[in-house]
Symmetry: D2
């Protein structure tokens, strides 16, 4: 973000396929526990016994989601099935996975109460996100909205000189529709959305932005852009001296401000307002102190040149990505975000989190792994379904979970129990 007018109109176009804007905006409103009682909590949260584990597994499987691979009941896959995902395979790295929830999400795509798997080895993390999830749910849930959805590939062209580079850039920009048609021959699910051109001396960068359907889409945009470049080289009025399929303007797995401003993946905006009593009882602090903390930490982040300023979004993103078969290297751009906490004039706590670069998918890539598929199914976010945008749904859940985690960590820093929690949960017994 900010969204360009074209991006915004594209967002509106996509959203209004699902209903009128007024109707959709109503989906974002809080739903109280009184009117819509939530399902039960994950059982026996502070119990590390095998028995408690079994009870939680049973809890999941009774929802209709068998998890033989997570539990180790199923064996390792045939290595041949891993072609396309790994080379020189020797075995499976294991990461312990816990379950939090339910968390109530009031999104356009994710609308309900969700249990969420988190894979991590940082003791305290799961407990803290669970605490946050309970709190936001009792406050009516997290409003969440995916806006822009796009992934870039940015080939670079070395031209003979600036004059030719300018002609080339103008020509390329004028041929957008042609490139869109070419891209459509390489993908059923993706679509070329936009093209930006950057002229720097005799260098031209073309930045192609694609909607990638329910896939995260890095491979899709590579292959589509390859096809476009072949056409460019054939048709261009001026011949490049050299060209490269990617010239580092796509923000791919990078911490760049471009990716913050322009969206890489999915841009999600969330909010929740916590009534004062929930803050006091659930976090043992006050909205005023949390707002004071936010000011101090936001200024601290800004003074240290942080791209986006948040608490520990990276923890939630990493745990979600590991569990759900997302590309872990994309934690780099996906964990950039802006958290905002303010004390309202009524004395409650307003909380918002924006994640501009959620590189998520529910098909392809690591989602083909057996445990990842089980994790996605727990959230009803697996695969691609007619008329449903599964990836957008998953993105809204991710952002809601991260907002819950932001609230929980700031609460513990304000109540002064951050270190105590890590002493209790972050070290082996």
């Amino acid at each position: 973000m900010p969204l360009s007018r074209q991006q915004a109109l594209e967002v509106i176009r996509r959203l209004t396929q699902l209903g009128s804007l007024d109707l959709l905006s109503r989906r974002l409103r809080p739903r109280s526990a009184e009117d819509t009682p939530p399902p039960p909590d994950v059982p026996r949260p502070m119990d590390w016994s095998a028995d408690a584990r079994d009870q939680r597994v049973e809890f999941v499987e009774e929802m209709g989601v068998p998890i033989p691979h997570l539990t180790g009941r199923a064996g390792h896959p045939d290595p041949a099935s891993l072609q396309g995902s790994i080379e020189q395979y020797i075995g499976m790295t294991q990461i312990p996975t816990g379950l939090i929830g339910p968390i109530r999400v009031n999104g356009v795509h994710a609308h309900g109460d969700y249990y969420v798997p988190l894979a991590t080895t940082e003791g305290t993390l799961v407990a803290s996100y669970h605490r946050g999830a309970r709190l936001v749910s009792r406050a009516g849930g997290v409003s969440a909205l995916v806006t822009a959805e796009q992934v870039q590939r940015a080939p670079g062209f070395v031209m003979p000189n600036l004059a030719d580079a300018a002609v080339f850039a103008a020509w390329a920009t004028s041929n957008f529709e042609r490139f869109r048609d070419i891209a459509s021959t390489r993908t059923h699910h993706g679509r070329l959305l936009d093209l930006h051109a950057h002229l720097e001396g005799d260098h031209v960068y073309l930045i192609f932005s694609f909607h990638t359907g329910d896939a995260a889409g890095q491979n899709m945009v590579t292959l589509c852009t390859e096809a476009i470049c072949e056409a460019i080289l054939e048709l261009t009025p001026v011949t490049p001296r050299a060209w490269f399929l990617e010239a580092n303007m796509s923000g791919d797995k990078k911490a760049t401000v471009l990716s913050f401003l322009a969206t890489r993946g999915r841009h999600v905006v969330t909010e929740v307002t916590l009534p004062r009593r929930l803050v006091e009882r659930g976090l043992h602090t006050t909205p005023e102190k949390m707002a004071q903390y936010w000011v101090m930490s936001f200024v601290g982040g800004s003074a240290t040149g942080s791209i986006g300023v948040s608490g520990h979004v990276a923890n939630g993103i990493a745990a979600l990505f590991a569990a759900c078969g997302q590309d872990i290297a994309s934690v780099t751009e996906s964990s950039l975000g802006i958290t905002r906490l303010e004390c309202t004039s009524a004395g409650d706590l307003y909380c918002a989190l924006t994640l501009p670069n959620l590189m998520v998918g529910t098909v392809g890539g690591g989602t083909r792994m057996a445990t990842a598929n089980e994790c996605l199914r727990i959230m009803r976010c697996d695969g691609s379904r007619e008329g449903k945008e599964q990836s957008a749904k998953f993105a809204e859940i991710c952002a809601a979970v991260c907002l819950a985690g932001e609230i929980s960590i700031v609460g513990s820093l304000c109540a002064g129990d951050f270190a105590a929690a890590h002493r209790r949960l972050g070290r082996p017994r």
Copy 2:
């Protein structure tokens, strides 16, 4: 970086415990395959059969590293053993893991030929890093040097006004030795190295930097800083109106320029020079073209506000961190880096990579997991050994692997086979 004089003197002090600087610098020089023949390559790299997998497993186990957990021969652990690492446990997420190497590393701490496990679901990644590892090894190996080693915790204090804040900051700075003693009562392995103070109106941020031994150390610095803060609150000449154990100036799991400039974790500098014929035969391109690409991609990164500019360091870091029980959320800061490629006057390719924030550990945290321990043992980097700095060794290997990966991806972008490789290896058969 840049290192302060005090940091530099600390680095020199630590290094010269291992030998004279001249002696150590000699360890950084390339060792040719003629003089020191490398061990054999990982067997049957492009074969996804169970038989090939078994042969690779046997290859590892014959080195003396049994891997029953990676291979699934051992069952899941007792949930009780996971206390301190996870809450609300339901099972184990699995991530396929491949083996590359050997890669020759000429570091102060890592000095030899290493096989390296990488956990990923991005097809092509392992093959590409393997290609890079072979190339740099044939060029005599990667020179690698850990310089600064430190982890921060940054409490914040809200003072009554600027005058009091200034007095408080001056008082705290003058009591560094006292704080160092307090920290030493909470840890055997860590040590308070430095203290920075940031005054912003009535806010004071104190940034404590610790050496954390062979642990990544996030918990250690939290608990030590808690003890220091308790002493501060007891002894301070002016009482804060509020305080927080962390006020967002530590760069913890953030993409900040502070963490780039100041080192969070370990700062590693690497280089290798590839003879022209290796570039031509191994990468099917030329040093000139790779240098030309570097200019275009570095300017592209800079123009998009990238913190550090590299190729795909995040891929290598994420795959290493997942396999080796590192904190995946720290991919955020650990994958920031600067890659440099230049054509030398002799027509060879000079390659350097600096990773300023490698948050790695070989004890504690996720390294307690069974598969992580197996992966660390494959690299002879597990645990903590008398007189050896295992984490520094691991850091040097990580950076060398990432440099190999940088060379491989730039090579494929220059040779024009980047998309083809992903078409071949990045999709299921």
Copy 3:
């Protein structure tokens, strides 16, 4: 930059009013001194006598540009004439002004040989830019191209909640044409070009981009946006709880990456190739050494978190802005740039400079001052002329001068005479 497709099409539309792209691109090509001899150099450059000063003044006035105010022959203006430019007036600050040139510019708008006034108190600066100007002119001149031209104003709206904020943002985006019509009632010369929307929780930022004709345009965009906001408040389907005419997303006088990526003012791209013998004779160094310096300094800039990476662009911008009545506070964003130097395969020196945010105008603001008007007239860039884009012309000259200055400073750092020059010219005799 990068330019969006809409921006690019707007650039193409504007440019092709002046001629075909092929025709225009031909204007960017170097013109050799043999084919088109340049006018004479500024007389007696290293002479500080009153006599030499008089001769230079005569040189200017013989071109048809009387400069009574610069020379002090004319008295101070009537204070009443300064209303609109200053309050609480006590007198005139004086800044010494030198003349360089000619510099040959091969731009679309600026096409010719120009003498350029620079106001500064940094001894050496004028001499160094003059040296650069002579060199680039002997190499055929600087190619220069204005691409994007726009100035932003970014009002902010506090909405009741995210749901309303989303509806508001969608509504605003859909009413662009209406806002454009409203803007046109407040200005004859400006035009609303684009609208971006940024949604962050219950906050909506609307970023309006205007073409501001030959004015720098900060006031114009303020007044137009005020009118648009009045309409928004009257027509909006959801009422903001508060709103502000500017909410810090316009990059106004700020060092932001947004302004680097999005263009604030005019985006100019330039290049020149210096034959090896000119580098050797004129700068006493080699293309190879200058390219080597560029690599080291560019990496240095990147590692220190520089927005854009250049040598001393701020010196040229500040001296031009002070002399020519531009807003000196805009040096902040206008001096952000990217310089690139490379050694070509033929052994010459390729040089490019991109300035993405030149906030310049030739009418209004400080250009009304008598000395500023004289300075602009020396460059034939004063006022607004039918069918001519004077500001774009001025922007191309500014960027060309800055490129000349980049070459000169890098040359002196490579030849090792940087300190000596400052010892000779930077201290009073």
Copy 4:
């Protein structure tokens, strides 16, 4: 900032030469108008007549500061006297200059009520800063404290390889005292304070930080570093392949985060608390609304990748620098700052501004110009005085003025009269 412990101890050392910390901190406290009545306001602020101008001039001259050059009563200087400040001189650029004040500053160095000259052509600017100055003075004045004071020069060395580079960096770091002695042979007023080393492959950057006395000091650090480099080249155990006096890690006239974190020039921290009634009567808005604006604008700045986040600091810095003979190109780094506004629990408005990079001097450079000298004398900041730190005093005044300007602009954005003010004052009658 953050200050290293060594920097902090240096600050404490310098400050305590002036008195105990407690004594100094008492100087920062507000002084009410009741206890210490302020001197009269600048006369007839909204009157552009020659008569009103004359009255203001008389007002200044009756303080004992004749201003013949500002008023044009004195002629232009002999060009020969400008050697060292300009080459190819043709005349004097004039910038209209207004006077604001008094502004009460409660600083360690600047302690009193000051009238401040501002040179600008942006109508409204002087009036707005004047309004802010009156407000902060009525609130007891601006607390202001210079902490770090240093200017960098950063030579770069290309070494044969990483091993040699490491030895070189270690050697250089260990020879700090020697370099300090060498520097002291080139300057009476400056002093080498610190040395940082940055190792990147075979490149070594050495960053020398100097205290430059009352000079801004760019030339001083250049000449001292030249002497140090000559010694390095003579004594180094390993010979560089090439070296450059500056390799772009000093932040010189650049918008870099390094310069934000590390201080370039003087780092000044300020604050003032405005009672609610002053906000309501003086700015026609409320502390709550100004705090709300601050949140929105700070998040807006952060989301656009701003280095530091402020309102219009660049306006104040540019106007002060132009009037007072500072290097206008240094507006780039000097205008980076962080503004913070919060509503206190008592309902008042807390305001803080930090400027980390004020590149100011009261001797040398442009301060030799006649009008600049008059402007500095109006603030009693001219020259260098025994036992007084004139530049630190000037820096504290600059920051106080900028804080006043921040309050005024935010007030007008909150009261909704920002555009109206520019309509009234920003356009010619």
